[in-house]
Amino acid sequence: MKNIIFKIATVGLMLGTALISCTKDLDLKPTNDVTSEVVYSTPLGFKQSLAKIYGSNALTGNAGQAGAPDVFYPGSDEGQNADFFRTFWNAQELSTDEAITSWGDPGLPDFHNLNTSPANLFLHGVYYKSLYQVTLVNEFLRQATDEKLSSKGISGADADAIRKYRPEVRFLRAFQYWVLIDLFGNPPFVTEESVIGGPNPPQKTRKEVFGYIESELKDIETTLAAPRTNEYGRADQAAAWALLARLYLNAEEYIDTAKYTEAALYAKKVIDAGYSLLPDYRHLLLADNHLNNPEFIWTINYDGAKTQGFGGTTFLIKGGIGGDMVSSASGINEGWSGHRSTKALVNKFADPSGATDRRAQFFTGGQQLEIDTVSSFRDGYAVTKYRNVTKSGAPSPNTQFSDVDVPVFRLAEMYLIYAEAFKRGGTADANLALSYLNKLRERAYGNTSGNIVASDITLDYIIDERARELYWEGHRRTDLVRFKRFTEGTYLWPWKGGVASGTGVSNTRKLYPIPSADMNANRNLVQNPGY
């Protein structure tokens, strides 16, 4: 009997020990991966986190072209749907007179047809990529507070450097919120006060988020690095001013209140900060456009070796090559026969050959101006603005992926904002506005033969000049909306609204629908009207 009791006691003891040690064993830190405590314990860790925030603009994920996308949803493709600039460009350009694509991937023709649905995967891409970057920034700011830095023993020059990252990432967040209010209107709203895995974020109105972007930018405009003093590709004060200028220019559309005086003011701040036009327009979007470039204010940087992916300028160059075009002339190994222009863009140039206005960069051999069949690459002139060759004409060392950087903001846009703000009644100098516009003309024509006089400055002139100067750089939809030509039947282009001769559509199409995946997940969201 004693023996049995002893046995039971032993088994009981063993079980007890096993249970206790088991509970403790479950309280483990991962050994196979790096935790946030490790990452945010060194200055290098902070810099690598900052690199990720910037890098998420140029990369689709952390494993090169494919394998570890930042954002993934069922049915999506990393190359097509997880790249920021590619999906942003689709939304801003394919929906307009500047570009049309032959590809029939579900949802893609809907852009030009002005008929997107909440299920559209490309819209999922830009929406989630924007909010992904916002989430990264929020996490960075939570980790980079003064208390956390001192608790980790980071002080002195190291801590100062990290403090300098804070306004930069806030700029990146403000930029993404601009993308969100421009495309989707009323986005969900999260800041560093929000928590990961927390409750569904509230939806804020376009007006509220406009106010937030404005206050954030004004708050950081003094703490950011002075213009042109930061590393290339990183944000400085001029980037914040440029975003403010763009925001104010569109204020009437965003918040029903004109802010043209402010738009001119901030455009002027950038213009006076030491930038100048690159002498040759045709050098703007080449493989070595990061070198000796006094015009770019803030860029998304691509590198054929270091930022491999099927988005960004690789997509713009390869997607724009087809028909009789020789891909090696663009310094790239293949063409994908996708996007071309419509005649509404081509005809804005007096001479599409480029002999007069050097900004006209079209490939016309074997192409026809009219678009009879949307899916035929030969219908519509191809665009050769982006090329993966250097200024000397040599191909870039890597012909599979592009080296061409994308200027999100460049000086020419600031000239155009100043002139438009002036024309729309903002307080600005008429002579300066004229001289800025003529600087663009002089570069385009190579002399003063294309110059205009004060009476030529009309809104019609400005919207057309914006097309000539900035086509394919991701501005057009915003511009057409502001000029009330995007959905209206008063301005048509080939296949607008899915009709060969073009047609107006409901003005609810000025905004894109909030993607269905987030409508399903976040019960606070209200879909935009008309979807």
Partner: protein, 330 residues
């Protein structure tokens, strides 16, 4: 570059509470034996991949505890030794399970109007998912539009029933239809020994499970085959039946593509012969032949009716294997 991964610090274990009432029986000297088992399983904190509200995590989809589910059913099995003679024995076994499952709670929202959690991505579509978990319905019900058919029973391209009768077809006209989970499973085993021969089989059946035929929906459309870039792509011959052009996007979510995938599968048939002793009793020799995955009886039109989760999308086909064997034992 350091990239934070998505996490959920509220994740907990899935828990299941089971109640059973069972009866075991043996008759005629256990020549017939078996059991009946009624069960009720309540699972709470069910785990699944779910959409994260944008801005709240480092990925759009992450693992979370989604809710509670109830499974009710009955299991039955019987084993018989039909013949027991010197030269002949025949055994036969049969088992069946009837199961009914319902989602009883979803953690995201107490809102009775909440449609549920969508999942189950399909290819070719535009990020559309085809499955949904909703309170009061089967786990993983298909969330689809109701296809309209013409008088000859042919589906009409891009015409769906306006379920909420508001005059337009929107996502609000999606409805929950069937699911990939079967109502009834059955298993059959048989064995016959006659003198030196041996014959055996194992078969399984599954009833009431449906399948979304993603091969048909993504390749059996005209747009896929006659590509806009002027080359021909491989396509499913289903296009000849449906005649779908592939315009619009809603056809991907048509219930036309949800097909009955009930099946009976002969998993294994084997036959053996014991040749007997050889070489002055120094060795024994046996020969056998065996077929794995011998045949499937099903109405399902795709390659295989047995695919987990009910989405048939480029499933790697199960091989049919023939094995001939000779065993020599010393």
């Amino acid at each position: 570059m350091y990239r934070p991964a998505a996490y959920n610090d509220k994740l907990t274990w899935e828990q299941t509470a089971t109640t059973n009432i069972a009866l075991d029986f043996g008759l005629f000297n256990n020549r017939i034996s078996g059991s009946v088992d009624f069960y009720l399983k309540k699972t709470s904190d069910l785990l699944n991949d779910v959409n994260q509200s944008a801005g709240t995590n480092f990925a759009p989809i992450a693992l979370a505890n989604v809710g509670n589910m109830e499974n009710k059913g009955v299991e039955f099995n019987i084993n018989t030794q039909i013949v027991r003679k010197k030269d002949l024995s025949v055994d036969f076994g049969f088992n069946a399970t009837y199961n009914r499952n319902r989602i009883t709670k979803l953690t995201f929202s107490e809102d009775p109007n909440y449609e549920g959690q969508r999942f189950g991505g399909i290819s070719g579509g535009t990020g559309s998912s085809i499955l949904i978990n909703s309170v009061g319905y089967n786990r993983g019900a298909f969330f689809v539009y109701k296809q309209v058919y013409d008088a000859n029973g042919k589906p009409i391209d891009n015409l769906f029933e306006d379920i909420n009768r508001d005059g337009v077809i929107t996502e609000k006209d999606l409805y929950r239809y069937k699911s990939g989970n079967p109502d009834v499973f059955m298993g059959f085993t048989g064995n016959v020994d006659y003198k030196r021969f041996n014959l055996g089989f194992i078969a399984r059946a599954s009833l009431g499970n449906y399948m979304y035929n993603n091969v048909h929906s993504s390749t059996g459309i005209q747009r896929n085959i006659i590509n806009p870039l002027n080359y021909l792509s491989n396509g499913s011959s289903n296009v000849l039946e449906s005649g779908f052009t592939g315009s619009g996007q809603r056809f991907f979510q048509s219930d036309y593509y949800v097909q009955n995938a009930s099946f009976l599968r002969m998993d294994n048939i084997n036959i053996g012969y014991n040749i007997g002793k050889l070489f002055n009793d120094k060795a024994t020799l046996r020969a056998n032949a065996n077929v794995q995955n011998a045949f499937v009886i099903t109405k399902y039109k795709g390659a295989d009716p047995e695919i987990n989760n009910g989405i048939d999308n480029n499933f790697y086909p199960r091989p049919r294997t023939y094995v001939l064997g000779v065993n020599l034992d010393f």
